[in-house]
Symmetry: C2
Subunit: 261 residues, 2 copies
């Protein structure tokens, strides 16, 4: 199933995407719900942010090419993580599919995308095992971990570089049937392909992360885990449109605009 949060006729609700139509749902996919008789052409609705997570987890370095790229820039030898470690992003930065990423006027030109698989948690769980870890996964969506690299270098943490308002597009919907082993991530800037990688080629996959995190943390319904990215991004300029496709899920597309231009 493909769960879309959307607005039509002034009402925001959940819906199921079926072919090119949205069937409105009463209730919440993470709780009780039922189909209604209201349907809308997919192209006519405003796509909303699927959810605001209670806790917003994000893996920093989880693909070898991205790791090497980052280390090369620092003139260092890449240190491959020897265990799953997590970081966080901030809820203020989230925007929906088709909403604009607004680059602050005082940011440098070093604005980069990072296309990421997003795991959406569906159950309250702790102490997961390899055998039962995937039971808590409700579905998948797509994230763009937009970064301002000069701030990333200058700051003690990732506060400005990763969490400025609008720097975390997520969507367009949550797909419950996608097969992690078959996904490919493709990034296009203004329609031209700039990155392509096998989504599952992670240093640590979804299951090891779920097992490790839940040794310490309770995961709650609606929590999200952004799984990291591979490769590198060109500098994204005012007016560029970045589209992140993950096969089997969909396409997350956002225009980048510079404040005051």
């Amino acid at each position: 199933m493909r769960w879309l949060k959307f607005t039509a006729s002034g009402v925001t609700s959940w819906g199921l995407v079926e072919n090119d139509e949205v069937v409105a749902i009463d209730g919440d996919p993470l709780g009780e719900w039922q189909r209604t008789s209201r349907t809308y052409p997919l192209g006519d609705v405003k796509v909303e942010l699927p959810l605001i997570p209670r806790t917003f987890y994000c893996v920093g370095l989880n693909y070898l090419k991205h790791l090497k790229e980052a280390a090369d820039k620092r003139g260092e030898i890449p240190a491959v993580p020897d265990r799953p470690e997590i970081g966080y992003r901030a809820q203020n930065a989230l925007i929906a599919h088709d909403e604009d990423v607004v680059i602050p006027s005082f940011a440098t030109d070093k604005i980069h995308y990072e296309g990421e698989l997003v795991v959406v948690i569906g159950k309250k769980v702790k102490h997961l095992t390899e055998a039962n870890a995937m039971d808590c996964v409700f579905g998948y969506t797509i994230g763009n971990d937009v970064s301002e690299r000069s701030w990333q270098k200058a700051d003690r943490s990732l506060w400005r570089s990763k969490n400025a308002d609008t720097f975390k597009p997520m969507g367009p919907w949550i797909e419950t049937e996608a097969d992690l082993d078959k996904m490919e991530t493709i990034v296009r800037v203004n329609g031209t392909e700039t990155n392509r990688f096998v989504t599952g080629d992670m240093i640590f996959g979804v299951v090891p992360f779920l097992v490790e995190l839940t040794k310490y943390f309770t995961l709650w319904p609606g929590d999200v885990i952004w799984m990291g990215t591979d490769g590198a991004s060109p500098d994204i300029k005012h007016g560029d449109v970045v589209e992140i496709e993950i096969t089997g899920i969909g396409k997350l597309r956002n225009r980048f605009v510079r404040e005051g231009q």
Copy 2:
């Protein structure tokens, strides 16, 4: 006003603490509300977590003694921050006043408290100025930024050390009338004073943080900013009770228990 989230007779709601009584409120202090005729003795109600913030901000190093203590341990010269920088904590870790901090069975003995002033945001704001910054502050509460120091040393970020379940007690209530210039923070372990500092003796105060954060971030009602701590903590053991008092606000008290003991 002193806003308490509480449970009595099986119902959770907001209330106003007046002397030793709680007056139940219909609605939400950050929105519409009105007093009811229901009152309860303060000692008889279950104190709940005041709120789960949308974004959970936390200042790392904001007091000179704490900074020096941390640098000394690393054999380094303390580097005093030259501008306000923020970090994040995770919502999963929050617990209420009087709930137990549960130390995982596999944690070391290096369990420390950090008594912190918590700023609770009441309005959706961006681009604050020195002149209007305080208008967005709804009130203050108290936080205990519990830390496992061996994990803090070992990890790439603060994920386990600061955010294990139950490591973020916050409460007991939100005080709207407290005067930042008159506060003193006092920590007691099993009733014996172990720290005392002037709460406002921050390297960067509340106003500079609000101005700097809102250059990049929209603050939302219910967001919290934990303002950092001074001094150092002894190792906290199974059964210890840590009480953090901030004068003019109240006392946040939690027992520490080690899992499996």
